[in-house]
Amino acid sequence: MKRICIFQDTDRPGSTPDLLGAAERLYGEGRFESHLVLLNGSGDAFFGHFHHIHRVADGLVAEYDPRGITEILETLHQNLGFHSILIPATGLGQMIAPRLALRLKTGLVSGVTDIKHGSDGMEIIRPAYSGKILEGIRFMGAGSRVMSIRPNAFDHIPKDGLKTLVSEYTAPVTNRSGMNRLHVEKASMANDEPAGDIRDSHVLVAGGGGVKEHFPALVELAKALGGSVAASRKPVDQGVAQRSIQVGQSGKTVSVRLYMALGIHGSIQHLAGLRQVDTLISVNRSGHAPICSLSDIVVQGDAGEFIHKLMEKISTYRSGNKGR
């Protein structure tokens, strides 16, 4: 049976099930032995979902130290001989995976978004050239593999029932980074703070460069539709929207029931962040913007006018229903 190691980024524990989904795509459900490595927390949420949970003892290494964490993963691999090591492609994960692959003298695929099985074997898919093309990568030989997995790229249906063995990792870490986290400052923007992670939302109202001055109104529309606000790269670069709500190649990958794109041209880099969208409504002055060809409804016109009129319509509908 294959042995898979999954590292949990303390700042993004929500990506751990995605990695379990990637493991299932690699080897098939129930056909591998799963090991979870975590730095903080009990891991209670994953009891029954993993065969093994390795808790790193408190104080052994800082949760943001890529060199120290790499050493822990390397040591665990030496002891347990993992076939694959999956790391979330978060900022921290991107600093761990290449170090680990070098130390293990093995291949690395970064930012994996898909895994395909064909007659030539397994191909690991990742976007390249700012999302304009896809690379299909095949590992040669039977050695271990290291992959960083793009958050929200894989589905995993939680199923418990495994007997989870928990062990504490206590081996001293000899090679820590010489870095200290001084402070964390939550960014503040003109528009409302986003509530939660856009990857957890089923409805996204996304604004682009064409709605720069309408971002507060986007928040209202998103609330009316029970969703969250997202953004393309342009308003993020302009300082209008937070980086944490950016969708696309350099932002987040989302799967939603409804994606309403307002003033978004739809560069291939932005579309790269739309993994699965059931319904797409785009509002654009140009009916020929790339995003239009992917839309169920194209609203050609001014996005500000659209938001105002649709909100009015929704308010009238809701106030009328309240009276009944």
Binding site: S110, F139, N180, Q249, S295, I297, Q300, R318
Partner: protein
């Protein structure tokens, strides 16, 4: 005390302006040979790293800034342009005879290990690859700390002992204190911009100043992966096109209602 800042940069096809033809992309090589007939630009993240270094040098003329890149000899004019921007030393490591099994990071590290430096600045992501692995590998091979996603460096706390940096993370902006020497990898969000060359510098013949060296191929190792490339295809839909008039809004409203997005 003077400070030696080394910038490891990459020139990439301008993917925003040229079509990427998957047939013409050679695979498996870190500093890939894609689009060498295409217009090449200094990778935007790398340009920010160099811009910061030149900004520090403008304040401290005694500091030195060295730029190193790996690529074909056709990059010489681009590197000469950097020499015209007050870069003290520019080195092009020619990859002409390099085996495709060589890791970019090993070749770069082999050269950099022969140079004096207090800090290595790079970009975080490259337009063509985007995996951010080279700066991390470079740090690992050289035994250094490294940070990706740097959006700002405090110029008053950037010296031979430490660098205080800001990093864009999911939770917001995080400030770290990094011990030198280390590798700091900047992003475009930093907003550092390269200066314009002075008119007199633009006319300066710097061809003798550019150092061209052959790549040390000790970084060659057996290939562990094979890469295929495919065009990305999005599925088009049969769409309804409406305006922002009352009829258009009504249609969108009815659609949202029918799909259950307006449930109270």
């Amino acid at each position: 005390m003077g400070m030696n800042i080394l910038c490891a940069v990459k020139f990439v096809p301008d993917v925003d302006r040229v079509a990427i033809d998957v047939e013409n992309i050679a695979g498996g090589f870190g500093n890939n040979r894609a689009g060498r007939s295409s217009r090449m630009i200094l990778n935007p993240d790398d340009a920010c790293a160099l811009a910061f270094a030149l900004g520090v040098k403008a304040e401290h003329p005694e500091y030195t800034v060295e730029v190193v890149t790996l690529g074909p000899s056709s990059l010489s004019p681009h590197m000469e342009d950097l020499l015209r921007l007050a870069v003290d030393r520019a080195t092009l490591i020619s990859d002409a005879d390099l085996d495709t099994g060589a890791l970019t990071s090993r070749v770069l590290a082999s050269y950099i290990s022969t140079r004096p430096f207090h800090c290595i600045l790079t970009g975080s992501h490259s337009l063509d690859g985007g995996s951010a692995r080279v700066p991390v590998e470079l740090a690992e091979i050289l035994g250094l700390d490294q940070m990706l996603g740097v959006t700002g460096i405090d110029p008053d706390r950037f010296d031979t002992m430490q660098a205080v940096i800001d990093v864009a993370e999911e939770r917001g902006r995080t400030t770290y204190d990094m011990a030198m020497p280390c590798v700091l990898s900047l992003t475009r969000e930093s907003g550092y911009r390269l200066p314009y060359a002075k008119l007199t510098d633009m006319r300066r013949d710097v061809s003798d100043e550019l150092i061209v060296v052959s790549a040390d191929d000790s970084g060659v190792q057996p290939l562990t992966t094979v890469v295929n490339r495919y065009p990305k295809i999005f599925e088009e839909k049969d769409r309804q096109v409406v305006g922002t008039d009352d009829a258009g809004i009504e249609q969108v409203f009815d659609f949202l209602k029918a799909k259950g997005f307006l449930s109270i």
